[in-house]
Amino acid sequence: MELIDKIKEILSELKLENPIFDLNYDKSKNIFGYIYDPIYEGDEDERYQKEIWECLKNGLSTEEFVKILSIIPENKDERLKRVFNSTPLEKITHKFFMHETPEKDKYWVIIDVTKTEDAHKAIMILSNYNRKINQANQLIYSKEMIEFMELNQEDIYDELVTNAYNNIEGKLVADLMKRHNDIESKGVFGKENRFLYTYQDFHLASIAEKEIYFDNTEIQFFEDWYHVLDEYSIIDDLKKRVEVSKMKLKLTQEIKPSS
């Protein structure tokens, strides 16, 4: 068995959620690389590295173990920075985004920013039922944090919504990368891999509100988030699109010929 495969097998004991291994040999057959996993989002690098190290030490022979130069746990942002060598920063003017993959499933993204009595908040929702993804994350910026950032009132929205966009786009890209790697592991390389675009020119595009139509499952997914979105202005636009989608679905059913 190749040492890289053995390492992957041993590291499966770590019970990671959805790991992407990026392990390589150097010219002297030493091993170096990275492991991405959603659980590495936390701030406990020392513990993550220790777990990897101990796991490998227990599972490999001494000769195999000394061949490892480094295996580094990385989170989504670190992976994006390493793979794309940059984090995009651009002005975001929309709140709804959609990406349809070559397999015709859809990722929906909703972002918004609101101000409460104590803080500013940014919300990010990512949803794709084919991938069993339906998650919302909220970033909270206290008054002290906003003050420290030296933001004028008119700049707060742009700064927070841009950061929210970069965050959620990163999560989406991480999932597309996972799909690319899954296909690659089945021996499909280069242009033959339909998710190659993830590494080339992917950009999460906005969608005009009047073009938004959800199917039944998507409607259920978004209705689940109404309580979280209550303090954001986007709730009204979302409810409107959900209602329009319901009407469209009903009409589509009604014009079906009876058999």
Binding site: Y34, S70, I72, R82, M145, F148, N163
Partner: protein
């Protein structure tokens, strides 16, 4: 001077000189961004010194994790040093960015607060202190070990 003329010894000396610059910059809190930049350059030079010992191939990127792997310093370290070195490199790589030389103080503050919000940290002073302390401690360790294992 063209890059190809840099020898291993040039990188090594530059690393130690940047480290001295860093110690000077750290005396003034207002110079924190350039101090972080300087620390990163010092680490990068140390890793490039080791890389140039055995290859002329130039890695134009500034990812410290990758440069560390290429440097093969780890082969000169015992197990506990290796663990500490790897943690120091990854800690430094989190804050270090070659684009820091273009980063204003305000932009740096915003980047830090976004990281804080993601990590759900509330206390700015505590967060800053831990980020900077870990980063500069890591720099000290990397340069110290680089110097110790040289030759």
């Amino acid at each position: 001077m063209k890059r190809k003329e840099f020898k291993s010894r040039d990188y090594y000396s530059a690393s130690l000189e940047r480290k001295e610059d860093l110690d000077y910059l750290l005396k003034n809190e207002e110079s924190i961004i350039f101090a972080i930049y300087c620390a990163g350059v010092s680490i990068e030079c140390m890793l490039r010194a080791y890389i140039t010992n055995y290859t002329k191939e130039f890695d134009s990127k500034h990812n410290l994790n990758n440069l560390y792997n290429k440097s093969l310093i780890s082969q000169k370290l015992n197990e506990s040093e290796k663990k500490k070195m790897l943690l120091s490199i990854t800690t430094a790589n989190k804050l270090w960015d070659n684009n820091l030389r273009y980063t204003s103080k305000v932009r740096m503050k915003r980047m830090i607060v976004h990281n804080m919000a993601r990590a759900k940290f509330k206390n700015i002073d505590k967060f800053l202190k831990s980020q900077y302390t870990d980063f500069f401690k890591s720099t000290d360790y990397i340069i110290e070990k680089g110097e110790e294992k040289w030759n």
